[in-house]
Amino acid sequence: MRLDPVYVLAPKKTPRPASTRRMFLLTGGAFVAGAAVGGACGYSMGVAASQPQEAPRQPEENATPEYEKSGNHELDELRRLAVKAPLDELFDKSVMFLTMQMSDYKTDPVLWYGVDRMSKEIIDNPDRKVDYMVIAVVIENIKFLEPPEKLGLRTMIPKLKLRRDEEKQRK
């Protein structure tokens, strides 16, 4: 009996498993990173959910308008002072503001919001040092020009006069 050789493919070598220590470190690092990101997201979501929701703001009756650009650089700057500039800046430039309102821009409706802001600050904040002559100029603009009725500026004149006299006494 003759035996013929039979060639059989050698079994594939099974791939060596990765180093257990390296896998452990990678897996552990991924877990820690995932836990950190997930924890941060969860915390911020929890904080946001726990804060009370603000009711939608109703527009105030006399809310200062978003002024539109007039195309006149000078008027736009005065409007910015009236509506957007900090009170300190508005008071710093009050004489210029009020004089230009009277001489050049007496019909501009936006500038009256600046007069309104100044008037309320003068009345409500006696700690703000305002020269009595500035208060007098504010009163004159209200008296001699035509402020919009809705701002109620004319009703503030008696209190403005009291503040003017107080400041004059201090001088």
């Binding site: 004489v95 001489s103 040092k129 020269d131 002559m133 500035v134 007098a136 603009n141 001699f144």
Partner: protein, 100 residues
């Protein structure tokens, strides 16, 4: 450029005495005041708030010039101005009646 508002020792803010415009802070109605205008301005505007009228007066820059005050009631704050627009300088003059 001089600061627009000065804080004297008392800490109170005063109206500006702009670098280019100097003058008194009081005047008599219908009277006049003497102002000194800087070298770059040749005219001065005076606004009477009771009428909103503005009058312009030619001045000699760098020299003392006398300008008339409106005949408005005592307590009126007359606005005196040199220059135009946002770079103008201002002086507020209070009219004080001298009569009874």
């Amino acid at each position: 450029m001089k600061a627009l508002l000065e804080a004297p020792v008392s800490g109170r803010l005063r109206l500006p005495q702009g670098g280019g415009l100097r003058g008194p802070q009081t005047a008599t109605p219908g009277g006049s005041i003497t102002v000194n205008v800087g070298p770059n301005d040749s005219s001065i505007q005076v606004t009477d708030p009771t009428t909103q009228n503005t009058t312009t007066h030619k001045v000699e820059p760098g020299k003392d010039t006398t300008i008339p005050m409106p005949n408005a009631p005592g307590g009126t704050m007359v606005r005196v101005q040199i220059g135009k627009g946002l770079n103008a300088q201002f002086l507020v003059v209070e009219l004080q009646s001298t009569g009874p």
